[in-house]
């Protein structure tokens, strides 16, 4: 049996790897096709033809694209992400600290939003049709339908400008105590939680309700089980798969999707970095960022699938 599971998991991982390859190619192609010549952007005023030609050669931009692709891919696997065009720093150095920040923000948001969302979703399903259920459903739609920059800016005004409880900017590099951590991350985290929770709530609710309609839950009811027991012991374990999947999808938003939050709270994360990279046609940076996002996404999705596999005794 366990070998069977192992095979399933390995198969899933293989799929992820294949996808990643496709992604890398797509990303590279896209960035190469991106108009606006790097060199001209770089030289700006000094873009005389000979200067352009020289720099192109120096940056190996004249090599055939496919060859550059292979080299680039090789570089990535050996941990060499190239040198930023914009300010000859190694891409790794540029991304490193930013990534750390982004992951920190994502992590904290996850810790906050996932438990809340799941609890709400499950309780809503438990008392389906009740006023509580209704209000949760409406609320989740309402929340998701307010633009996030609106949420963020209002939050800043209330908590930072008027109440002066929280800082308006998030200086990730000034955290020494837990208290500071709370203060600094409070608002970005709340904003992001608003954005990603709704979907999780909806999916959780739906999944749990689905399993609640199964014969074995009815059976448990006929054993005299309480509502709580029905949901927690019988429905939930079988709804795990879809729930984990929904969570993964929502979380995948937290790296690339947070650009707006990063802008408003001036939080130095990877999303903003990539926006800059795009504007300066800084291909190595763009490609690395894009790859980064895809890897994270695939990681989340794959983990979700594997959890689903492991949580299913039929496969175990």
């Amino acid at each position: 049996m366990n070998r069977h599971v192992l095979n399933l998991v390995l198969a899933r991982l293989m799929i992820a790897v294949i996808t990643l390859l496709i992604v890398s190619f797509t990303v590279f192609a896209a960035t190469v096709l991106l108009p606006g010549d790097v060199v001209e952007v770089l030289l700006g005023q000094a873009a005389t033809p000979e200067a352009v030609a020289g720099l192109r050669a120096a940056m190996h931009l004249d090599d055939p694209a496919i060859w550059r692709f292979i080299q680039w891919l090789g570089g990535i696997f050996t941990g060499d992400f190239g040198i930023s065009y914009a300010n000859n720093m190694p891409v790794a150095d540029l991304i490193g600290p930013r990534l750390a920040n982004s992951l920190k923000l994502a992590g904290i948001t996850t810790l906050v939003s996932v438990p809340v969302a799941l609890t709400l979703g499950i309780t809503a399903a438990m008392w389906r049709g009740s006023w509580f259920d209704r209000s949760v459903t409406i609320l989740s739609i309402g929340i998701v339908s307010v633009p996030e920059f609106m949420v963020a800016t209002s939050a800043v005004l209330v908590f930072a400008v008027y109440l002066k409880w929280l800082p308006a900017l998030s200086f990730a590099n000034e955290i020494h105590t837990f208290g500071q951590l709370l203060r600094v991350y409070a608002m970005p985290v709340i904003t992001l939680s608003f954005v990603i929770s709704a979907q999780m709530i909806r999916m959780t609710r739906a999944a749990v309700i689905d399993t609640l309609n199964t014969p074995y839950v009815e059976m448990a009811l006929l054993k005299g089980a309480s509502r709580k027991r029905l949901v927690l012991k019988h429905a939930l374990p079988n709804a795990l798969g879809p729930i984990v999947n929904a969570v993964a999808l929502s979380l995948s938003y937290l790296l690339g999707g947070v650009i707006i939050v990063e802008t408003i709270f001036n939080y130095p994360g990877v999303a903003k970095l990539m926006v800059d990279a795009v504007s300066t046609r800084d291909l190595p940076l763009i490609q690395t960022c894009a790859m980064l996002f895809c890897i994270v996404y695939l990681f989340l999705i794959t983990t979700a699938d594997i959890i689903a596999i492991l949580s299913n005794p039929r496969l175990r």
């Binding site: 799929i15 294949i18 996808t19 990643l20 496709i22 992604v23 797509t26 990303v27 896209a30 960035t31 096709l33 991106l34 108009p35 606006g36 459903t137 409406i138 739609i141 309402g142 998701v144 339908s145 307010v146 633009p147 996030e148 920059f149 609106m150 800016t153 209002s154 005004l157 400008v161 995948s252 938003y253 790296l255 690339g256 999707g257 650009i259 707006i260 802008t263 999303a271 990539m274 926006v275 795009v278 504007s279 763009i286 960022c289 894009a290 996002f293 895809c294 996404y297 695939l298 999705i301």
Partner: protein
Amino acid sequence: MVRSFFSLRAAGYRFNLVGLIGFCLVAGWAIVALSAPLIIPYPIGEIVDYDYFGPISGQFWLGSDYLGRDILSRILMGARYTVGISLLAVMISCSVGVTLGMTAAVIGGWLDTLLSRFLDALNSIPSKLFGLVVVAGIGSSIPVLVCTLAVIYTPGAYRFARALSVNINTMDFVTVSRARGEGTFFLIRSEILPNIIGPVLADLGLRFVFIVLLLSGLSFLGLGVQPPNADWGALVRENIGGLPFGAPAVMFPSIAIASLTIGVNLLIDNLPQKIRDRSQ
């Protein structure tokens, strides 16, 4: 629209109140979007008020924006872009995604694998950044915007439709058609599609909401509809400076967005179902 609603009822469809509210909101905005140019009190670009972030007044029903333009007019026109663009995009993405999804499910094999992998890959690129790259590359015009949004949301529709179709595909009646010698197109069109259309519509509604939001998100990053026109997201964005004064210029566009998205959701969560009653 309203008439068609009643004819629905006549045809024996059941429509609950919440759904009705949603329907009215959506229909209302649709009508506004269609007739906007006729009903706006001022040209959207004209500076009619020397004050900025003006309050609600008899002259300017929803106050004036940061340049002293009439916000009501701008919202009414904005409906065109927000509703229009989102609707178009969601239509494209869903029709493409669903078709591919069904085909993949019916044909299966390597085609299925290939499509799934590729769209998964596409899906893994964050939407806002994707939008940025595209606009940085091709520039921002309404067609580009629509296509970008469509592309961004196609993988989701595909995943969804494929999952549903795979289930239907195992049903006996599909096997019957196969055994009869029917071609793929027939299987998709008249065996699979009619049986997944319901969920697909619901999914479409949700996607619509996300597109509306992404659209406003993009306009925050300086993309989106070009001035002096503006979708609602852009309106909120450009007047966000009025938030501290609680200026109507920033409140009402937000309310507009919320009302539309909530309306759509209420509608799709309570879609009318035909009453089919064996005991009748």
